[in-house]
């Protein structure tokens, strides 16, 4: 079972100094170590973006393919090897924009895997254009007149679409993020973890201190019930449209919004998915009764 150190490849991360990706890197390595997941039972899939460069920095079985297509690749992987823990890392552009349709359909399919979104509200790798989660009116090189559209609300979309595990976290609070990762990985079903990951180079608005002034933990809310979907949706909408407001005017909840522990997963719907594809032949279905019914 790899330790956090052993989960690092020999390549030194090339993210910009101070990038939120470092906190996410550390939290995930530690979560995997603490969950004691054997190396051969873990696979990771990445989209294209700064987050995706993690493919070079994690020492795991991994796949790095196309911008926006991490989830469908992971779907194929998880169906072929349902015995693996599959962790998918995507960007906000990658996962909510160009790959946004896969996000919705992965949620409704509820295949057991963990989807982590590095939400820096910017296209980091292509040097700072507006993304689908950039705040409205934000000025970037691709939107010098300001973003016209409303941002995607990933937590709200996931909750509304019936996701069985939905969390939001902040890359600046590594212990909290690690605990969320552990719950998401252990959840049976499709887990959505949207992580605010400050891009220190291109997003000069949503910085570490900007988030520190605003985030609070859902666990601290009196009587919050993460199995109540309607409440989760309400909470996802509560501050969403006010992200540009002053710290005392709006607070951003982080933590587990919703969890349905005993959900019906895609694997539950297809009994042969209780084992890897190459083991199918080991457990042939007994059809003698059916044959006997035809007098065979």
């Amino acid at each position: 079972m790899p330790t956090a150190k052993e989960l690092e490849s020999s390549m030194k991360p090339t993210w910009c100094p101070g990038c939120g990706n470092f906190g996410m890197f550390r939290a995930l390595k530690e979560a995997i170590e603490e969950l004691a997941i054997p190396a051969e039972e873990l696979a990771m899939v990445w989209g294209i973006g700064c987050h995706g460069n993690g493919a070079d920095f994690y020492n795991v079985q991994g796949f790095h393919g196309l911008h926006g297509r991490a989830l469908p690749v992971a779907t194929g992987l998880a169906l072929t090897r349902p015995d693996l823990k599959v962790i998918v890392e995507m960007g906000d552009g990658d996962g909510y924009g160009i790959g946004g349709n896969h996000f919705i359909h992965s949620v409704r399919r509820n295949i057991d895997m963990t989807a982590i979104f590095h939400n820096n509200q910017i296209y980091g790798l292509t040097t700072g254009q507006a993304s689908p989660t950039s705040d409205q009116f934000m000025r970037t090189p691709s939107t010098p007149g300001g973003v016209v559209e409303e941002p995607v609300n990933p937590v709200g979309v996931a909750v509304a679409q019936g996701a069985t595990f939905v969390a939001r976290a902040f890359a600046g609070d590594i212990p909290h993020l690690k605990e969320i990762y552990k719950r998401a990985i252990m959840h049976e079903g499709f887990s959505v973890v949207d992580v605010y990951q400050p891009c220190v180079t291109w997003n000069k608005m949503n910085t570490f201190s900007w988030f520190r002034d605003r985030v609070y933990k859902i666990e601290e809310l009196p009587d919050y019930d993460p199995t109540d979907r309607t409440k989760a949706f309400d909470l996802s909408m509560s501050t969403f449209h006010e992200l540009t407001c002053a710290p005392d005017e709006c607070k951003i909840p982080i933590g587990v919004f919703f969890e349905e522990p005993e959900s019906f997963t895609y694997q539950d719907g297809l009994p042969q998915l209780d084992r890897p594809m190459w083991k199918h032949a080991e457990k042939p279905r007994d059809i003698s009764a059916t044959i006997a019914a035809f007098g065979g």
Binding site: G97, I98, Q129, P141, S142, P144
Partner: protein, 395 residues
Amino acid sequence: MPTQKTIAATGNTVVAEAMRQCAPDMMAAYPITPQTTIVEEFAGFVAKGRVHTEYITVESEHSAMSACVGASAAGARVMTATSSQGLALMWEELHIASGMRLPIVMANANRALSAPINIHCDHSDIMGARDTGWITLFAETAQEAYDNTIMAIRIAEHPDVLLPTMSCLDGFITTHSIDRVCIMDDETVTGFVGQYTPKNALLDIENPVTHGAFAGLGGPFFEFKKSQREAIERSRAVIKDVGAEFSELSGRPFGMVETWGMEDADVAIVVIGSTAGNVRHVARQMRESGIKAGVVKIRCFRPFPYAELAAALSGVKAVAVMDRAESFGAEGGPLFLEVRSALYDATERIPVIDYIYGLGGSDVRLELIETVLNDLSEIAAGAQAPTGLVYLGSR
């Protein structure tokens, strides 16, 4: 000749400038290295009011080309830009644009396709799109990228043509290097490109039309394709005329095929894109050591200039084709297949050797080009030509 301004700028900057001067009604785009700065600079022009374009940043290239198709069908002049995976993701819509005869103009920053991941120059993206029905112009330099982009509007929107047109420039080498470029003034370009008068635009309530309806068995599908073929054949004359008219204004020559040293060449290299400059340089040097080398540069790949190429190569003893893309399982790369086909009717059989080079931005050093010309001169002197293609400079 109208006055021009000489500036030092990257290929992307002058393509953005050309687009501003062509004043499209609409642009929809998605960023991808090394195209990104074309669109960013254009977005800056829109924000400053230097061009009046409906500009939208969409969520993918599929959406970008779809939005361009919608706008063009509604009668707008439409321009956009992409590269590599972006062009690949547009695939479905590329065929819609040409099948519906929508004269969209797009710049493509030529870049390798995954896998494995690579962001550098080769021609796999654009060569993969060679059968999508787009007219395809290639630039060697930033200057040609600027010129081609302006000419592309006139070619695409010509009533005899009405086909989408791509203006291709080599990723990083041309898109990002600073080069000397002559820029025409706005009035000259405005006058040259003129107004676009759409023929069968949607939203004309007097003449309602549907674009793209089912044309299956028994329907006119086959004839639609034939009309696309006829249009791209007609574009040959239009490309020449537009090129000649542009040359008058700019003082810069334009040919679908451009030659160097071919008057008395024994051996020749056929090349496309930015490598042409290095090939000419080496050819010039080799002439000093007695090898009569010539260079044929292809500036228009679709329609392919068969006749012009055959004429340029007539009389040479050996030809090398420089292919910056693969066509796995074919006899050679995409350019090789065209060149060999162009030479099929030649009275003398000319040996043609395919050199695959520079995939994923791998370096094409001058020494490598020298080896090509040395090979050719030996073959011209009677040595056996290699069987099969040659991977130039691979490990």
